[in-house]
Each structure stands twice: as C-alpha cells, then as structure tokens.
Symmetry: C2
Subunit: 378 residues, 2 copies
C-alpha cells in the first residue's frame, strides 16, 4: 500500500462507549497493513512494542512491523511461546521487563498480535508496566475478535485456576483483520463461532435467527463474516458498557461457561479433547437443557440451540467429548471450584428461552447433580 | 477492649474524595485493636487475609488477629520477609496464590499490616487477584502513614528499576495507629518526617511554619504528631483527588524525589548509607538550591529548609552521605534514568519559594550538571 494513500474505511467499525476509556473497534479484511498509520493517527509520536507468539509471528509479524516502519516507527518485538501455558507469572514478568527494556514510556503503545493468550497476557503486562501503558489489540483468532478483545479483561492463569490474576485495562483501539481468519484451522474457527452464537442466545434472538440462516456464509468469509463479528462485538460492548467492572449483569457473558470451564478442567485442559469454545458450545446446550428441566424454558429451544451448534460441527453433549469423563459428582466439584461461585452458593446463567438469558443465584447443587447424572454418558 | 463497647472516635480522620473510590483514613493511638470491628462495619460478612513482614508481624500481628477474631473473623495470614527485596514478581505471585488458596472472593478483604514495602506489594496483589479485591491498609511506619497509604499507587520493583510495575488500587479504608510509631527506630521516624516537611514545601507554607514551631512535639508524640500526620494525608489527598492517575499535577509529590532517587541509586540502595526519606531530605534542599540558582526562588528559602531538616537530624547535602559519591556526570546519568524523564527531557519539581513548588519540564541537563559539580563534595 502507498503511504500517501488515505486510510481506507474499514468494512465495519463501532465505538465501545466507556467514557474516558472509550475506544474504537475496526473490522474488515486487510486492516493489518494499516496498523502503522492508524497508530500514528491515534497516538502521534508514540513508540511501540509488538508482542506475539511463535505461530502467529510466523504468519503476520512481518506485515505489522513493515506497516509500522512505513509510518516512521521502529517497533521492538517480543515473540512468546504459543499456548495457554504462556499465561503465567513468568511470562508476565518477561513481558513487563521487555516493555521497560525497550524504554517505552506511559504514552507509548504495547501491541498484542495474536489470539486470546497473547491478548490476555499482553493486556495485563501493559496494564501494570509503569502502572499502565497504551494497549493496542490486533486479534488474529475468531475467538479473540469476538470475545477477548472487547471488554478490557486481561489476565494470566495461576496454580489455583485459570484467569485468576489480572486487571481491567481497556485498549486504545482494536483492529480486527478478518482476512487473517482464512488461515485458521477449521476446528479453531468453529470454536470461535460458538461465542458468536452465545451473543444471540443471551439477548439477541434476531441475531440467532440470522445465524441460522447465514451460518455457511459466515464460515465462507466475506460480508456475512464481517457482520457476524461486528454484531458480536456490539453485543458484548453493550453489556460491558452497562457493567464495566463485572458487578452484575456482565456475568451474562458467562452463558455456557460454568459448565464449559468444568468440562475443560475435567479433561485436564487437554486441547486434543475439547478446546474452550467447544466447552462453551456444550455448556450452552446444557444451560438450555437445565433451564428446561427447571421449567424455566421450553425444551424445544434447547433442541434448536443444539441443532444449530451441531450442524456447525461443534460438540453439543457430554457424550461428544472423546476419552470419557469423571462421574457426575466429580463434575459438580469442578463447577463448585469455578470462580463464579459466590459465598458457597452456585451461580449459573440460565435462560427463559433463546435470547432471554439471566443470572440465577442460589441454584441448588442437588438439582445440578441430578441433571449431570441424567446427562452423563458413562 | 470490650466487644460491646461503641467504636471510639479516632483522634483524627479524613475522607479521600475519589468518587466511587472514596475512602476514609482514621488516625490515632490504639486503633489497631479496633480493626476487626471497623472491618465488620465496612464490609459485613467479608473474610480476610493479613499480609505482614517478619519484623512487623512480631510486634503487631497478634493484636490484629485478636481484633478480627473478637469481631467473629478467622483471618488467613501471610508473613513475608522484611525489606525492599520483597517487592518482587516472586513475592507478588506468592501473595496472589495465598489470597486464592485462602479462598477469598472479590468482596473479601486483603489487609496490609506494615510499612511501604508490605503496603505496595499487598496493594498490588489485591489489585490483581480476581482482578481486584477489597484492600485495607494498616500502615505501621511514619512514611507509610503519611505517604504510601494515601493515593492508591501500588507496585513492585523490576530488574530495570524500582516501582516500575504496579496498579492504581485504592484502599477501602486506612487505619493509621499512631501508637505503633513509638516502637520505630529514631532514624526511620526521622526519614518519615522528611515526607511530612515535603507537604509544607509543596503548597502549605503555613504548615511548614507550624512544623518549625512544633517539630519537637511531633517527635515526642501526642496530639501534635496526630495533627502532622493528618495534615500530611490531607495535603496528599488534595493532590491525588485532582489527579488520581498522575497525568500532571500529582508529579508535585515528587518534590525532592528526582535528586533523592538518584542518590539512592548512586549508593546502591544501601540503607546503611541513605534511606529513602534521607534521600528526599537532601533532594528537597537541592531542589530549593537549584531553583535559587535558576533565579526562581530566594536562596534564603533553601537555607531555611536546610536548617529545619538538619535540626531534625536529617542529612541536607551531598557531603552528608557517608562513603563518597560517583562524580557529577554519573549522578546526572542516574537522574536521566529516573522514570520521571519524559521523552528525553528532564522534568523536575522546582519552586518559587516555600509552599510554591511547580512542575518544570525541559530543565537543561547542562544546568543540572553544573549545579551538581558545584555541590559535589569529592
């Protein structure tokens, strides 16, 4: 691209309205090549460091570095190992030290180029280095584009559980290049799609209808994919705007996650068995089935959700998890360990139907146990 | 004390007015024994963990534990090694894991019992565990009571410099028991006194006059000590309220600190040579002398500041530092490495006279070098 050319309008964009922490999300194919000029426009004179992982780095680092250089920058680069284990205190310290060693100051930019792992870790490091640097998200996975890059939650895993240390640190801008999704493995794209479906199930029944009609086009790419990503970001931004620091309503975003996290934990976080988005897919179906069992919603809605996720190639029941599961009471134990447990009572996101999710406190553990026993394949 | 007795009014109290993050500072002798009931009043039903260090723990941990137990609590306890090296990523991880292992949830309380090291580390850990727990400060050093416990800055040291990683995390309450200061070594009390003097020098000339008249009474304890601490907290709270996230004016609190930090670094952070408050004392005198040299202020004011700090037993010139110093150009190097350097220019807090400090950007390094050469004892 030509340096003198005007910036193209992205295919879609939205503003996450958080007052003094408001920021824009740009969505569309080819946006990575414009990173340098977008940054120069947003933070004139700022220096930059790019944090990525080995896999994403191989594919996209050069594009971003060249874009920053064309705009007059000379970014520092940190390449981390790929994978969930990178979200550790050790790599947090490494990243903070790299930011400081690059002599970045408070107004300078720390850029996360990658999926959720790179985004969560880099966001955390940029939130604590010098007590807060400018943070730029370049999400390269579907999951990161529709979930991790919106909302300001950053974090790492601890020996006592996932995502248990972190800060709320909003990015200065999110640039989601939808063309990079063409290089994702099919299974990873599907897993991200589960989170897109989630936004329809929480409070956008029309969006769920639209997904039923347009799923194949979203998978194929093009305008429908951009629309699905933009609508997901808009849905999440609406929830986050109303509850930035997760005092209440934001918990709705955990639809499918309480069951999902428990299944991830019960399978030892072994990605060959289930990945996060697959756990969420099963979890959303279970949340609908459990709601039906509690006479809150129609079982037809649970069937409809299950059909849509299954036709998208996602697992939808405990029996779909390869390799067997611990017994129902052990699964309940994993649920009780989840961080959404408040003062001993079980908190779940339940639903009155598609697009009618709500936060249910004091769900009786005995009901959950009976439900798991009924649905257990073993 | 009797459980049923009403809470006594503290000798002094003030509110740090930060909107939704507003909190109270209670100041007076004997307040540690009331910790449990204050906590129960502020956060009913909250569980608690106390973080302290070996030295402070020996003297005051039992008092606080008993107070919490009397109020119906059963606090977890973490005792860390004493000293600046505790402000590390390793101890941060240890503290976060201890909070999680104690199964504290978001509304529960992490209590820092100690000086600046314990307060800075514990505040940071409580700011990132579960993305933010309730944080209670029980400062036990004079420096912590008048400085570290007000303003929400938390942090640890990194291999690239002190306090370069942290978050802004305001406490829910600060309880400053002035009786515990009776057990401080005299040198540590003097070092804390330097920070009290600082508030007079920034923008409270009447307070500086009062300190000149009441210094001995402040050192002796009693009402004057409480007044000096309360007035210092009030002064700092006023600055923080106007600039919580250090975008501008809050830099005034660094009066004496640019020179002071450089002297601490130049002496290898060797507490047998100078401690932080002593570096600040020398730094404040140098800031006044440098301001006089730049024809901004009268040299009489610098002499008056120097006299007051010297009669309090504090060092006031480069010659007062035992063991010799690197040459002037090396000292300038330490100043340039300080984090208050913005985009290559030197930023100093200078003054137009006592109580008239201001933030000076673009101070010429050549003038600072010449000044250091003139004042160098070697």
């Amino acid at each position: 691209m030509n340096d003198a050319a005007p910036l193209t309008s992205p295919a879609a964009s939205l503003t996450v309205d958080l007052g003094s922490r408001a920021y824009e999300i740009l969505i569309g194919p080819g946006l990575l090549t414009e990173t340098g000029r977008r940054l120069a426009q947003l933070l004139p004179g700022a220096r930059a460091m790019i944090v990525t992982d080995k896999n994403v780095g191989k594919q996209h680092l050069e594009t971003v570095v060249q874009s920053l250089r064309k705009a007059g920058g000379d970014p520092a680069v940190l390449v981390l190992p790929a994978g969930e284990r990178t979200k550790s205190f050790g790599h947090l310290e490494e990243t903070v030290n790299a930011i400081l060693a690059a002599k970045l100051e408070r107004g300078d930019a720390v850029i996360a180029l990658g999926g959720g792992v790179v985004g969560d870790l880099t966001g955390f490091a940029s939130g604590i280095a010098r007590r807060g640097m400018q943070f730029i998200q370049l999400p390269t996975s579907l999951l990161a584009q529709v979930d991790s890059s919106v909302g300001g939650k950053t974090g790492i895993n601890t020996v006592l559980g996932k995502n248990l240390a972190g800060v709320f640190h909003q990015p200065a801008i999110v640039i989601a290049d939808t063309a990079v999704l063409d290089t994702l493995p099919a299974r990873e794209f599907r897993a991200g799609y589960a989170e897109i479906v989630k936004y329809g199930l929480i409070d956008r029944p029309d969006f769920f209808d639209w997904l039923e009609a347009n799923r194949e086009a979203v998978f194929a790419g093009g305008d429908e994919r951009v629309h699905a990503i933009a609508e997901s970001c808009r849905a999440k931004a609406d929830v986050v705007r109303r509850d930035e620091f997760e005092a209440g309503e934001r918990a709705l975003l955990n639809l499918g996650h309480t069951f999902g996290h428990a299944l991830e934990a019960a399978t030892g976080f072994d990605a060959s068995r289930i990945v996060h988005g697959e756990g969420v897919a099963i979890g959303m179906v279970l949340a609908h089935r459990f709601s039906a069992r509690m006479n809150l919603a129609s079982p037809d809605d649970a069937d409809r959700v299950s059909r849509h996720l299954a036709v998208a190639g996602l697992p939808v029941s405990l029996a779909d998890i390869p390799g067997g599961l611990p017994p129902a009471d052990a699964l309940l134990g994993f649920i009780a360990q989840d961080k959404k447990v408040t003062r001993g009572a079980l908190t779940f996101i339940l639903t009155r139907g598609i697009g009618q999710a709500f936060v249910a406190h004091d769900v009786p553990p005995s009901e959950v146990l009976a439900f798991l026993q009924e649905n257990h394949p073993g």
